[in-house]
Symmetry: C2
Subunit: 113 residues, 2 copies
């Protein structure tokens, strides 16, 4: 499996959980300490920390420790491979529509001869 | 969990596997029977069928049976929620940058007074 593919799999896996998407949405507003991220999810701290570690492994967030407080922040550029993958899919689909168009035009031309 | 959220989780889960992304990329080119989808993956038919069922549950593909041959096709509009989610993330991030800009401008103005 290509390195790019593995990264994309980790990102999609990280995004497949609604709590992790909630955490990302919260971090898009501003960096936050772990305790503050736990509050709106209603989850225990160890559960939230497991989610954060999945997000960090996928490269979607970073965290830094100041004394006893660990603060998380998103890495917005980390979603670029997802956008690229979507763009590739769209391009393949549009190329297919163009081929279908060309085929129909050719058939119409042949029919008109 | 909102219905929208569940759908998005299923889609991201489906996209988290490189074989399933390979199948989608192949189907973006043209619909294909299951046997043809199995060939480039090098996987056994039952494994491919399990992947197809995950893609179908996420609403990313459809399949139809003609005699003994089941043909799969992508539903390109099914990726719209992913694009919307990415756009929401980007909007939240840009709003944050705008707030930071406004804050810096205000501080500079105060400093200049």
């Amino acid at each position: 499996m290509a390195k790019h593919d593995l990264g994309l799999s980790l990102i999609f896996h990280a995004l497949a959980d609604p709590t992790r998407r909630l955490i990302l949405a919260r971090l898009a507003e501003a960096p936050a300490p772990i305790s503050e991220l736990a509050r709106p999810t209603g989850l225990q701290l160890p559960t939230v920390m497991r989610h954060l570690s999945v997000l960090e492994e996928a490269g979607l967030i970073t965290s830094s420790k100041d004394g006893r407080i660990r603060t998380c922040a998103i890495k917005p550029e980390a979603l670029t491979p997802v956008q690229s993958w979507l763009d590739e899919q769209r391009a393949a689909w549009e190329a297919r529509l163009d081929r279908l168009d060309a085929f129909v035009m050719q058939k119409m031309k042949e029919g008109g001869e």
